[in-house]
């Protein structure tokens, strides 16, 4: 739903007709008011006119405080803030359910939160975002909260991010095998592998709701793998065809 909103806002800013954008939206994230997003010029308008009756309404409270227009920078900040709010809310919900669901889902969501924090840090190196703005985008339900996030906020380059990750036991081996060479894996690959491992383990437990989440996320991973294989065939680059994340 968040990605659909961002896609429509960005497309509208670039004068793309709404009829062209709607088919590109994820079907699981559609809602009735989706097509009316194009009328909004600021987060406040977006909230009052469109989002107020959607499941994302509670997550908009932080974003509505910024009265800036919806430009490229603010859209990116909006996307990350929405995702942060959604993740924290989802984590709190899973924790409240307790039992096996909490045991399965909370580590998965904590990992997702830390992954987002690390990815935002690395991707923000070439932007003009202030460190305080970047810190506001970090979800606070991960294992890196609070100390790790403080260090990440002040990181200046990828090497420093690596040293911060190695300081935390959970991510000590994250950078093993990561590099820029042809046979090296990327950090994103390691994240996907770890995520798939955790989602696969959720099926080892019984009578919990985490299996549904795991099923959907693993299905998305399968889709990514198939698209990757198709791209390698289309580009006649079969050397890299095996660079997908095997699931089971």
């Amino acid at each position: 739903m968040i990605d659909n909103i961002i896609l429509l806002i960005t497309g509208t800013l670039r004068n793309r007709p709404i009829a062209e954008l709607l088919p590109r939206c994820h079907p699981l994230g559609t809602f009735d008011e989706l097509a009316t997003i194009s009328i909004a010029q600021s987060p406040a308008e977006l909230f009052n006119a469109v989002m107020v009756d959607t499941p994302l309404a509670p997550f908009f409270s932080e974003c509505v405080q910024d009265e800036n227009d919806l430009d490229e920078m603010n859209i990116e900040i909006l996307r990350n803030k929405l995702y942060k709010s959604y993740l924290e809310d989802f984590y709190a919900f899973c924790e409240s359910l307790g039992g096996t669901t909490a045991d399965v889902m909370c580590p998965i969501l904590a990992f997702e939160a830390d992954r987002r924090a690390i990815t935002i840090t690395i991707n923000s190196f070439r932007t003009d975002l202030l460190k305080d703005d970047i810190e506001n985008l970090y979800p606070k339900c991960g294992k890196l909260f609070p100390e790790g996030l403080k260090f990440l906020k002040n990181a200046e380059d990828r090497e420093e991010v690596r040293r911060i990750c190695e300081r935390f036991g959970a991510y000590k081996d994250l950078y093993t095998g990561v590099g820029d060479g042809p046979n090296d894996k990327t950090l994103e690959d390691k994240f996907f592998e770890e995520e798939v491992k955790m989602l696969g383990l959720s099926f080892e437990q019984q009578f919990h709701f985490g299996v549904f989440y795991a099923f959907v996320k693993l299905k998305e991973q399968e889709n990514r793998n198939i698209v990757w294989i198709a791209e390698c065939i289309a580009q006649k680059n079969k050397n890299k065809i095996d660079n997908y994340i095997p699931i089971f």
Partner: protein
């Protein structure tokens, strides 16, 4: 042997051909890498954050090139980051005259309507920012590959120009040499071949009849 073309010249041309072939191979590899990294960026970020919606479309979007080709050098191309100066100022003056005429006569309603229509949206100068402020690492790497591909294309063009120049020079020298050989040969043939002596021919035939 023609003293104008030496072995060194020939080896230089062969080296240039070898460099040209090598650059072509590198260019193909770099472009292929760039495309696969684009696919990887879509794999990492997801289809919703990286699709053709974010690409510019002619008429809808205005983009500013960041690299220009400078062709003012002596038969060499080079890449520059600033747009080369416009060549003629007369063109500019005509435009200004047209604008002043329009202002004097007043604008028609059609022109007023055209001005109200939203023009093309100006996209960010850096193509990385077309896909969001925080582009993934693989997209940055793809951009690096495509930038190096442009540099290789310029090098290939320059090498091709040099090769063409060398080969044209060889051809003209070779033609001159052949012409010179032809003239010398004809002169030497004329010197060697004796004219037919009618009297000697008659005497020879008389002598041949003798027993």
């Amino acid at each position: 042997m023609n003293p104008m073309v030496t072995d060194t010249d020939v080896f230089e041309v062969l080296d240039k051909i070898s460099d040209y072939e090598q650059l072509l191979i590198e260019l193909c590899a770099v472009i292929q890498d760039g495309h696969i990294l684009l696919s990887r960026a879509q794999y990492d970020s997801g289809y919703s954050t990286m699709n053709s919606t974010y690409l510019p479309e002619p008429g809808l979007h205005e983009i500013t090139p960041t690299t220009f080709l400078d062709m003012s050098g002596d038969d060499r191309f080079s890449l520059v980051t600033e747009k080369p100066d416009p060549k003629s100022g007369v063109r500019k003056r005509k435009k200004v005259a047209k604008e002043s005429e329009e202002k004097k006569t007043g604008e028609s309603s059609e022109e007023a309507d055209k001005k109200e229509e939203p023009g093309p949206v100006k996209l960010a100068d850096d193509p990385l920012n077309w896909f969001g402020l925080m582009a993934p690492t693989s997209l940055v790497q793809a951009q690096t590959r495509f930038k190096s591909a442009i540099e290789r294309i310029v090098e290939i063009s320059n090498l091709k120009q040099e090769l063409k120049k060398c080969l044209t020079e060889f051809e003209s020298l070779s033609n001159d040499f052949q012409k010179k050989c032809t003239v010398e040969t004809s002169e030497s043939n004329e010197a060697q071949a004796p004219e037919f002596d009618q009297e000697w021919g008659t005497k020879a035939s008389v002598c041949s009849d003798l027993p």
